[in-house]
Structure formats: structure tokens, C-alpha cells
Symmetry: C2
Subunit: 794 residues, 2 copies
């Protein structure tokens, strides 16, 4: 019965349910804590009304404390928790192992840091870090589940588990199961197993369900509805004549998104360059976030500049008010109608709504979530302009329809986030967040236009971060370029391959190992035939060479030869028989592990790095310990005088020239092979499908070259010797929009290769550089602000 229960508990759906519940609880708790914190913040601010200096001090110091705590906590507990986490996850799902990224420590650091950052009222994105949190949760849970079922220990399961983790992360962040699954797929994968769809939906729905039910139990909501529910009219959501306006929003969002990614990368690259300022910032890690927080808080201080940019609204309230049903330009003069609520913050008695929206827009270009806020503001701006242009609405069929600026805000939000992340599923997330799908067609049109423009100009934000952080990646192949079928592996492969033949001597192997840093080395039959037999791990070879020249082996060899010459043969024969038996056993044990390599996702097993070193030591040595040890010890003293120091050197030299014993080491018998005429398209497909890092090129069994990720990357980006130049997807739009003078910098920009954590991130959870962008952009509104101030008070 117990065994039955244990296997039942190891079932897949239990894992999914557990993951869903855990993440829903985490998400809800974080939301609850940060909401309480924000409440306290506003309460303090309200209590101190009248005393402007004190009010200012409270307004500034409250977020400062939280941000500093969050920063410090992450730095101390787990520096891996810094940053959005999506680029790293994309790399991990690509098959690369990043250490310490999926540990419980990072989980704790990220959860507490994110809660503090959200609670500070600063515009910080939640869904990026949440993807990371959910993935850690999935990884940790799978380790726990392996107690019940061995499946979870299998490295091939890892991708399946992490993919579901990502889906749950986005899904339970806002209670959007559909959009969450789609977004996580678009952002993290290149090829996707459809069976994981189902699992993602299951876990994400469960998670979103619990997340929303918790808020019902907490009396936050009457029933389960959308998080940012809108109330647009449904019988006539928009007119066809409004479509050009939607298209304009889409295209401008595309340009904005591309510009954002461009700026982001350049600011980060600038920060990485070693100069006096960055050195100073690296030394005082906490200074930078503190200064940024200070500046933001000062600017949004409601009685100060904040009154011109709706500074008193917290990020969530912003979104809600931007999506509302009223047309602000119409209200601004007259007394506010009933039910306006927080939107009143946008209406300044003296300043036009447009200016406020514009200022707000310039303020909020930071972090991914803030991108959404910013885009809503932009959309709202266009909507309000439309409402001003057509003050009486649009006449159709004799009936007058008002324009709804809130709809424009929703579309703007979806289009800009779509442009920055290069995804279409932001539209789905928006539908789920607002609870209305009536704007589906204009929104899809806007998102697709934004994507076209942004993809033509820049890589996505996450790809850009991956490039900047110099993580291994494979660029996407565009569709429809003939050249990807005309370029073959033989054009891009490296023909000078380092290899080992079965006749190689130890000297050659040693030389090879010293001269290169390849992780695995191909083994060929002989130098003449070059028939590929397999590949050997670098560690195996190192261990073999070390052992071959080790003092133990030398002594053993001397013992043997001396014993033989001394004529005590009978004893030795007995012990040798024993040794041979052990050798056979050892060989058998080794084989199950041996041939597991070469396939989709070969993640090195980090749990046994030491055994890798010791395992290949041939059985001969181990036999020594049993019976021969006493003998060798005895003879060691007896024949000591024969071993003079100079003879050791001579022995080593002689041994180095002996051929290597191939039978003693593990050979991966089928490394991934391509033929010379494999097209670039197919190579790219295989590399991204199977997560390969390199492949050997063979011609009827003969090794003729090798292709690694680097060569492929170069070929796609157009810097190979054969003059290949493949343009990125949708590059035709890029040509059109070149007048924009935004040119993509070459990936090998002259940034100094500093460590990824060398810049001091401002808050633990936005991408570390995005706040730098923020910082840069803060100069603009400041100037504009003063300008406006002067203009309006004259």
C-alpha cells in the first residue's frame, strides 16, 4: 500500500498541482505584503499633510529604505537573484548550465527582495522576476518529488519542468493562465513540445485559480474577475474609421520599443566600460540605487512636481485609472462626475491633460512593467487626441458613437510590451487582465505592426541582454532568405580539427590538451583514414595522462619488472589473475553511464564532478591495494637503491612516447554528425532543437571538420570568410526604416569583458541596467518640467 501511495504521489499531475499551489501562495503573499506596505506609505503621506518638509522626507525615505534593504539583501544572500532572470532562463533552456541560478537561496533572495521593491512604490516589473521565482520553485520541487519517482532525477525532464515553471510564473503573476503560457513559450523557447502546452495550462490555471480565490476569501473582490477590469461598451467597441489611429499606435510603439532596447544596451555597455565613474559605482554598490530612488521620489513628490504627473498614484492604480471609461479632455473643465475615483489625479486645474500624460510618459520608461504603464499612457494620449479631434464622436448609420480613450490605452500597453519583448501574446495577457476581448482585432493589428517594426530594427530586450551579458546564444533565422539553403556546413566549418587517433602517443595527447580548451575531443581510427570513432571527454583524457605519469604507476611497473626478474613468479601470477577479474567487472559497471551523452540537452551532472576524475583510473591500480600492496611496500625498500632520480625522467620520456590505451577510457560512440552539404537552415534547426554546442562534419565516415555554436552564430550574423550575410527576420522593414539612423551595433562591440555582476544594480529585481536608462531619461523630463512650469505660469 505504501509503495502504491508513493508512486501515486510521484505522478505528474500532483507535481503540477503542488507547483500551482505554491506559486499562487507566494504570489498572493507578495501582493498582500506589498499592498499593505503601499497602504502604509500613503497613510504616512496623508497624515503629514500640511507639513511639506516632513512630508517630503517621509515620501523620499520610505522607498529608499525598502530599495536599499532589497539591494543589500540580494547582494548578501544570492547575487544571482539580481536582474529579471528571463535571459538567464532562456539560456538555461537552451541547454547551458548556469550555476547557482536555480537554488533555494536565490528563491528566498528574490522573493524577499521583490516584495520589498514592490512595497517601495517604485515602478518595478513583477513578471520577469516571477518567471525566475517559479522556475526555481519548479526545479526545487522536482528535486523533492524525486523522492517519490525517479523520473524527476532524469536530466531530460529538466526542460519540461522548467518550461512549466515559466508558464506558471507569468500565469499566477496576474492570474492570466492563457497569456502566461503563451508568453513564456514565446520568450523562452525556440522549439516547443506541444505536450508541455497541456501541462502548462493545467498548472497555470490551477495557480491563477487559487491566486484569485485567495483574494475572494480575503474580501478584496466579490468574485473572480479580471485584475484590471475595464468596462468599455461591447455593442460597438470601435469604428472602422478609428483603425488608422490604432495602426499609428502600433507603429509608433514599435519604434519606441526598438529605441528602448537600443538605449538599454548602450547604457549598459557604457556602464561596463571601465572609467572613473563606473569604478566608483562598483566600489559603492548601494549608492547607485539610492541615488536613483532619491531622484524618482523627489520628482514624483505630489505637492511638488508630482502634481503634474499623477505622482501620488501607485503603479497599479495608474493602470486602472488609465483604462477608465471617461474622456479626460471633456471633464477637465467641468466639475468631476461621479465614479471618477482615482482618475482625478490626472486632472490638474491649470495644466492640460496632454502635458500631464506626456510628462508621465517620459517618467516611466524603465523596467518591463513600467514599459506597460508607459505604453498605456501613450495609448491614452493618442486616445485623448482622437477624442479632441472628433469631439462629438463618430457618426455611423445615423448613430453617434463616442471614442473611448481607455481602449487606446489598453492597445498601447499591449503594443509596446509586445514590441520590447518581440511577442504577440502580450495581447492575450491584456485581454485577460482587462476582462474584455472586444478590441481583439485592432489590438492584434497594433501588436503585429509594433512587432514588425521592432523586429526589423532591434533584437528583443531579452536577446539584447543575453548578448550584453555574453551568454551563449543562437540567433534566430529569418524565413524566406534563399541563402540559408544555399550555404552549407562546408562553407562555415572549421577544417583544422584537433583530434586523437587510436595510435596517438601520450605526448601528443598532452600537447593537445595543453594547446586547446575543447570540452570533448574527437577520436579517429588513424591519421590516414580519419574515420570518426567517437569523442572523448577532456576530463577523461586528463585523468588518463595524469595517471600514466603518476608515481604510483611508475612504482607498480618497477615492482612488476623487478619481481619478474627476481623469479618469484608463482605468487605474482595468482594476484594478477585476481586483478584481471576486477578489471572486467569495472568495465561492465562503467558502461551504463558511458553512452548517455550526445542528444537533446546533455547537461553535465554537477553532482559527480569528482567521480569523473577518479572513475577512469584503470582497475590495475585498484588491484594494487588488495594484495600487492604489501609486496610493493616490501620491494620498495628492498630495491630503493635502484631507483635513482635521473631514471625517473628517462622513464617518463619513454612512457610519453607509448601509444595511448584507448580501451581504458570511455568513448562517446556517437557524437552528433553532419555531412558537408547540410544546409545552414538544417544545421540551425538541429542545433536549436537538440541544444547542441558543437557537431562534427563527416564525409562517408571521415572526419573533415567541426562546427560549433560560434561558427553558426557568425555565419548567421554575416561575418564569415565566405561572405555570408543573412539578415535578421523582417529585415526588409529594417531597410525601409534606416532613415531612423538607428543602426544595430556589431555584436562584438568594444565593451570590456567585465563580470556580469560588476555594475551595481539599483533595485534587486529590475534588469540592472534598465534603471540606468531611467536615470538617463530622467534628465529630459526635468528640463521639460521646468520649461512647462515657466510657460504655464507666464
Amino acid at each position: 500500500v505504501q509503495r502504491f501511495l508513493v508512486t501515486r504521489l510521484g505522478e505528474d499531475w500532483i507535481f503540477l498541482v503542488l507547483l500551482g499551489i505554491t506559486m499562487a501562495l507566494v504570489s498572493w503573499t507578495m501582493d498582500y505584503a506589498s499592498a499593505k506596505s503601499l497602504q502604509a506609505y500613503k497613510w504616512i503621506h496623508g497624515e503629514l499633510r500640511g507639513n511639506i518638509p516632513l512630508q517630503y522626507l517621509a515620501w523620499v525615505s520610505y522607498p529608499l529604505i525598502f530599495i536599499l534593504f532589497s539591494s543589500l539583501f540580494c547582494h548578501l544572500v544570492s547575487p544571482q537573484a539580481i536582474g529579471s532572470g528571463i535571459p538567464e532562463l532562456k539560456t538555461i533552456l537552451r541547454g547551458v548550465v548556469l550555476k547557482e541560478y536555480l537554488t533555494l537561496k536565490a528563491f528566498v533572495a528574490k522573493v524577499i527582495g521583490l516584495t520589498a521593491a514592490l512595497g517601495s512604490g517604485m515602478p518595478v516589473g513583477k513578471e520577469g522576476p516571477f518567471v525566475h521565482i517559479a522556475s526555481i520553485c519548479a526545479a526545487v520541487l522536482s528535486r523533492f518529488m524525486s523522492f517519490f519517482s525517479g523520473v524527476y532525477q532524469n536530466p531530460y525532464c529538466y526542460t519540461d519542468i522548467l518550461t512549466v515553471g515559466c508558464a506558471v510564473g507569468v500565469g499566477c503573476c496576474f492570474g492570466t493562465p492563457l497569456g502566461g503560457v503563451l508568453f513564456s513559450i514565446e520568450v523562452t523557447s525556440t522549439y516547443f513540445a506541444v505536450r508541455n502546452y497541456w501541462r502548462g495550462y493545467f498548472a497555470a490555471t490551477f495557480s491563477a485559480f487559487i491566486f484569485r480565490v485567495l483574494s475572494v476569501f480575503n474580501k478584496d473582490a466579490v468574485t473572480i474577475t479580471a485584475l484590471f477590469r475595464t468596462n468599455f461598451r461591447m455593442d460597438f467597441p470601435f469604428d472602422l474609421q478609428e483603425l488608422p489611429a490604432f495602426a499609428i499606435i502600433g507603429i509608433s510603439c514599435g519604434f519606441l520599443g526598438a529605441f528602448f532596447v537600443y538605449l538599454n544596451r548602450h547604457v549598459v555597455l557604457f556602464m561596463r566600460r571601465p572609467n572613473a565613474m563606473t569604478r566608483f559605482l562598483t566600489k559603492h554598490r548601494l549608492l547607485f540605487p539610492a541615488v536613483v530612488t532619491l531622484v524618482i521620489a523627489t520628482l514624483t513628490f505630489p505637492p511638488g512636481f508630482g502634481q503634474f504627473m499623477a505622482g501620488e498614484l501607485m503603479p497599479r492604480e495608474c493602470i486602472n485609472s488609465l483604462f477608465d471609461n471617461f474622456t479626460w479632455t471633456k471633464i477637465s473643465g467641468s466639475p468631476p462626475p461621479v465614479g471618477l475615483g482615482r482618475s482625478a489625479a490626472w486632472l490638474h486645474p491649470d495644466v492640460s491633460v496632454f502635458i500631464i500624460l506626456l510628462l508621465f510618459l517620459l517618467m516611466k520608461v524603465c523596467g518591463c512593467w513600467a514599459v506597460c504603464v508607459c505604453a498605456s499612457a501613450f495609448g491614452r494620449l493618442v486616445g485623448e487626441i482622437m477624442a479632441t479631434l472628433f469631439p462629438h464622436g463618430i457618426v455611423f448609420d445615423g448613430i453617434l458613437y463616442r471614442i473611448i480613450p481607455g481602449g487606446y490605452a489598453v492597445i498601447g500597453a499591449a503594443a509596446l510590451t509586445g514590441a520590447v519583448t518581440h511577442t504577440v501574446s502580450t495581447a492575450v495577457i491584456c485581454f485577460e487582465l482587462t476582462g474584455q476581448i472586444s478590441h481583439i482585432l485592432p489590438m492584434m493589428v497594433a501588436v503585429i505592426l509594433a512587432n514588425m517594426v521592432a523586429q526589423g530594427l532591434q533584437p528583443s530586450l531579452y536577446d539584447s541582454i543575453i548578448q550584453v551579458k555574453k551568454l551563449p546564444y543562437l540567433p534566430e533565422l529569418g524565413f524566406g532568405h534563399m541563402s540559408q539553403y544555399n550555404i552549407f556546413v562546408e562553407d562555415i566549418m572549421v577544417t583544422k580539427v584537433n583530434f586523437i587517433s587510436s595510435q596517438s602517443t601520450y605526448r601528443e595527447v598532452k600537447l593537445l590538451l595543453d594547446s586547446s580548451s575543447l570540452k570533448s575531443i574527437p577520436l579517429v581510427d588513424s591519421k590516414e583514414s580519419m574515420i570518426l570513432l567517437g569523442s572523448i571527454d577532456r576530463l577523461e583524457l586528463l585523468a588518463l595522462c595524469d595517471w600514466w605519469l603518476s608515481p604510483e604507476r611508475r612504482l607498480l611497473m618497477q615492482v612488476r619488472s623487478t619481481v619478474l626478474s627476481a623469479g618469484i613468479q608463482c605468487l605474482i601470477w595468482e594476484s594478477f589473475a585476481f586483478v584481471d577479474e576486477e578489471e572486467e567487472e569495472d568495465g561492465e559497471k562503467g558502461s551504463p553511464v558511458q553512452e548517455e551523452r550526445n542528444g537533446p540537452l546533455p547537461p553535465p551532472k554537477p553532482q559527480e564532478p569528482s567521480s569523473n576524475h577518479t572513475a577512469p583510473v584503470p582497475g590495475e591500480l585498484r588491484g594494487l591495494h588488495n594484495s600487492e600492496y604489501i609486496f610493493s611496500f616490501f620491494f620498495f625498500f628492498f630495491f630503493f637503491w635502484t631507483v635513482i632520480q635521473s631514471s625517473i625522467k628517462a622513464w617518463e620520456e619513454a612512457e610519453m612516447d607509448k601509444p595511448m590505451e584507448i580501451d581504458e577510457i570511455r568513448v562517446d560512440p556517437s557524437p552528433f554528425q553532419l555531412v558537408e552539404r547540410t544546409s545552414l537552415h538544417k544545421t540551425h534547426t538541429l542545433f536549436s532543437l537538440l541544444g547542441l554546442s558543437h557537431a562534427y562534419v563527416t564525409s562517408i565516415g571521415k572526419l573533415v571538420g567541426v562546427v560549433a555554436l560560434k561558427e553558426l552564430q557568425k555565419a548567421i550574423e554575416g561575418s564569415t570568410r565566405s561572405g555570408v550575410r543573412l539578415r535578421p527576420p523582417l529585415a526588409s522593414f529594417r531597410d525601409i526604416s534606416n532613415h531612423n539612423s538607428v543602426s544595430k551595433p556589431p555584436p562584438s562591440s568594444p565593451a570590456a569583458p567585465s563580470s556580469p555582476t560588476s555594475t551595481s544594480p539599483p533595485s534587486a529585481l529590475t534588469a540592472p541596467h534598465s534603471v540606468c536608462v531611467h536615470f538617463l531619461i530622467l534628465v529630459l523630463p526635468h528640463l521639460l518640467l521646468i520649461f512647462c512650469f515657466i510657460v504655464f505660469h507666464i
Copy 2:
């Protein structure tokens, strides 16, 4: 300039736009035509009011003519157009080539047939055939586009093109771009390239947009809104206490769906069994659809039985009225409120709404679209029951909320179609169709529950059809069964491999070709070493053998030897030099095609089946035509007396024992290889990722076995000699629900292997067997009907 224009026109996005426009036009035209036809149908019915016999005649004969025309047309033009087409497309995307499925002829047959069937008012599904139509359209368009860009000729593009075609098909069928893309992915793919996401969205959105704009221009609609727009209240769409009811709908829909698939398969298998009735039906192909149409039309005749099952409503009107906002149980007694419209058809003065819904439900279990109608009716039934149980609505927070039975209908529709097709994205389609997303969480819960139950009990409808039609397929691997990692290729591989060594004689090759039907044969170095050098196509070998024993070659050889003996050497040497040159050229020309095999999707190029036969004939022969032909002809007569009939036999025998000339034929140098310890999970992944049909198993270069799709299929389904038994995904639920006594029949059921078109399909476009189910089920309501009649009139 012209070249620039041509390449521009070959761009990917132009293809997508063209595809979108074409499909939107096709879809809209079909809708328009069938709507007009239905209008005429109703008009005739209305005009003849009062004259019951004449009215009946018109009611019955109208659909009869349309269905017979549609049936006949498809049979005559293209029999491949029969059936839903999704199973076939799934097989094509798997890498198998089905001939004649993607031709213009099938397109015409399907479009006209479907229009006629839709116009007949019979419950026929639109989206299944539409996927097929769109795929044909994409395939034809890509052939057209290859005029501008060579990319479209590449066979690897094919999958990309067809995937987008499927997405557009579903998307423009109802104007649901999001759901269309997701549904087509879930239904057709196993692994999906994320870059096709974007392309699918682009084309589907464009298509849906045009489709909806056309109806606006046609004044069918004021603006672009959802097709089956609902108007549920949004502030409080449902209460948490209603969730159990939603869950019940989900679970029962799961059982219903599984039962539907089960019934479907068994009826088809029964129809395939050769007996007197099926033989009769096969002979009179048109009889079966005619009878079915007659019976349906008779039953739905509004003044007759039709009044008890809302017979006068056309399928689309049904859905619209089922989704409406009124609670029918409340209305039925009192006078109908304003705005009830067509829902009035459901309210019979004497009979309860429940009975009508129940009857309607039993009527409509046919085709996939009809599944949707049926499920809506079921959901509505549950909703009405709920409304009766809680007549005053649900009290929450002191406010009374009415129950909306329409919401239940929507959820039921999504859950049942989801259960039958094993997809989650039906929920998305429902959101888009109704234009409301407020019920997202209960709908997702219901759909997922329905999927869990249905997946545990039965394969999906499409997989079931694939199995019944005996198309090649690969079963899905469940997640989390340890055994898939413990079973290795060595357990399932076939060790007795037919092979050719480089020393093989022609006799051996001939024997091998006669004894087996393998498509490609492995080539090894020698029988002793067994080192795999590559694989050879069957056609190549056949051509080589044929040529080796051909009279031409015999004569050539004799000519040569005779000429040599005659001493006219100088002449021959000249011509030989010529021949050698040609041989080299030929070898070079052959090579680009040569090594294109072995990778994802190797679809044979149907355009050059003949060249396959002629190409491998070595250059020697071709040289013959040039200069030696005159010689040979001359010597043929001169030495005729030396060639006696018996010597031919002897010559052939002698030639048969010569070793084969490997250099003369094309060898695929890297057929797909696995090692013995590759796990079943990895093998499955590779097979489904790369669309392999077989793979060789090697051990350090030595060929030790072969694994084909069949072995893998057997291993997964649990009938291998090693006693492996992998249960299907979610089988734990299957164990639980075994009391249902629905047991999955073994795939090798004793159905006679008749040809796929042997059963006579009733309408050209529903799956041919689904109407058989219909027929079977028709007996039930008939009896019930009479029973009810008696009960209610006593």
C-alpha cells in the same frame, strides 16, 4: 529594378498577406452563399405554410438535393476531399507524403462541396474542412510564389507553409486569429517552431480582419465584433458557489467526448467489415447520405417532430439562441419578453424546456461542429437546471445575483469540443467567438477537467481516425513514467538487419531486394567489421541491378571484348576517354541532391519520380549513345552469330556473382544513428522532432540493429518482446474510471483492411463515419419522441 521588385514580391510577408486575403475571400464567399441558400430554404418553407404535405416535401428535398450534389461532386472531382482533412494533415506534417491531398482539384472539390453542404442546413462542421482548404491554398500559393523566390521550392519550407495554412484555416473560419493559431498547433504538431507562431498570428489576423471587414462592407454588421456575441453581465459573471456546477459540466463533457470517440471508431470499424449491408452501400455510394439526410430532415420538420427540438433553427441560429441571456425556465409560462427573438423557438407551449433541450441534444451528436452545438445544449441544460434549483439566484454580500444559463452553454461548448479533440485552445476560440472573456477561469477549469477525463479514456478524435485509416503515426509519450528512461533502444531494436557490404555481389543484392520492401538499405564496410558507411535508396539499387543485367550492357560488354580482340584499340580508347569525362561530370552534378536526405522532414520530391530511375544509371551507358552506338550497332550485326541464347544465361549467372560497384551509386553518407543505450524517451523525441521513419543503431561505428517507427510504436503501446508497457498520458485517471467499462480496443483490431474510401460518406465534408454515429443515435430520439408524445398528450 525588375529584379528588385521580383525579390521583394517573394518576401515572406507578402506570401502571408496573400494567403490571408485569399482565405478571407473564400471563407466570406462560402458564408455568403450558404447564408443565401439557407434564406431561400426558410423562405420556401414559410411560403408553403398551410399546406403541410407540400411543405414537408420542400423541407426534405431541398437539403437532399444539396447533399447529393455535394457528395457526387466530391466523388467525381477528387475523392481526397472527403472527410475532415485534419487527420491527413497531421500525417503530412509528420513527414509522410499523401498524394493528391494538396492539389488544386481537391481545393475546388472541397470548397464547392462544403458550400453546398453548409447551404443545405444540415449540421456540418466548417472548421475541419477549412483547415484542409487553407493548407491546400498555402501549398498552391507557395508553388506560385516560387516564381519569385526559390525559397518556396525547398522541401524544408513545406512544414512552415502548411503550419501557417492550418492556422489561417481555423482563424478565418470564424474570425478567431488567436484561437485559430493555438488550435491548429495543438491539433497538428508535436513539436512546434516558435518562429511560426508569429507568422501564424500575422496571417490569421490579417485573414480574420478582412473576413470581418467584408461583412461590415456588406452591411451585415455595424462594426467588427465577435461572431456569436454574448451579453453576459461583467461585474459579477459568476459566483464561486457555481464552480461545482462548472466542474460537473467539465467532467461529464469529458465522458461524453470519450464516448463519442469510442462510438465513432466502432461504427467506422463496423462499416468497414465486409458484410451484405456494407457491400450494398459501397455499391450505391449516394444512397447512404441520401437516407441520412432524409431521416434528419423528416425529424426536424418544424410542424412535425421538429417543434419539440427547435427544428426550424439553422445551426448558427441555434448557437446564438443557446448563448442568450434569458432564463428559459422562467419565461416559459409567461408571455415572451421583448428581444427574445429566435430563442422563442425553444419554448413550446406544452412541453418543458428540459425535454426540448434533451431531445435536441440527442439529435445533434454528429460532426465536430455539431459537437459544439450539442455541447452548448448540454451546458444550457445544466444552466437551466441550476436556475431551477436556485430560482432566486445566489445571494452574496447581501446582493442577489441571477444565474446566467447562457454562460453554462458557452462553457459546455468549449469543454466538449476540447474533450473530443484533446485541446485546451477551444476555450480561446470560445472567448473570441462570444467576445467575452469574463468566464475565463471556470471555462479553463471545465476544459481542463474534460481533457483529463477524455485523455485518460480515449485518444483524440483525430488520432482515432488516423488509427482507423491506418495512416502512419507515433503515439504520444506520457510524462513521468520512469520506464521510458529505463528502456533503451537495444531492447526494442531489430537486430536482424538486412544490409549490403561493399563486397556484396549482385546476386545478394537482388535477393535482398526481392525479400524485403525496405525503402533504404544500410551499407557496411564488410561483413566482419560491420562499420556503417551509409544507406542506399532502394530505387538506386533496383536501377543498378536492372542495368547490370540489361541487354544493352551485355551487348556493350561483348562489343568491348570483341573490339579489343579484334585489335581496333585506338578508336576505343578515344571514346573511352570521352566516357570517363562524362562520368566525372555526372558525379558532380549528382552530389548537391545526393546528401540532402536524413534530417527533419525528408519529403520525397514528387516532381521527379522518373528521374530517380534514370539518374543513377552510370555514365558508361550514356556514353554509348554518343559515339559507341554506331560501333555497337555495326558490331551487333557483325558478331550476331557469337551470341547464342544459352550464353546469355551463363553470362548473367557470371555477372551476378561479381561484386557490386558501390562507387557508381549515390550513398546517403549519414543516415540517422542511435547508440544502444539511447533511452526510449530520447528516441521518441528524435523521431518526432525530425520526422524520422527509421534509424540505425550503431556501436562504435558498427551496425548492430535498426529501429523503425513500427518498433517504437509497439514499444510505447506495450507489445514488445521485452514486456515493456507504457501507459498513455494521464492513464492514472483511466484506472479510476475503468468502472465505466469503456475499454480501449487494441489498435490491431480485426477490421479488414479495406481502402479508406470504401465506405460511402453521407456528406462530403463531415468525417465519413461521424454520420454513421448519427444514424445510430437517431434511433434513440425516435423512440423517446414517441414516448414523450404519448406522455404529454395523455
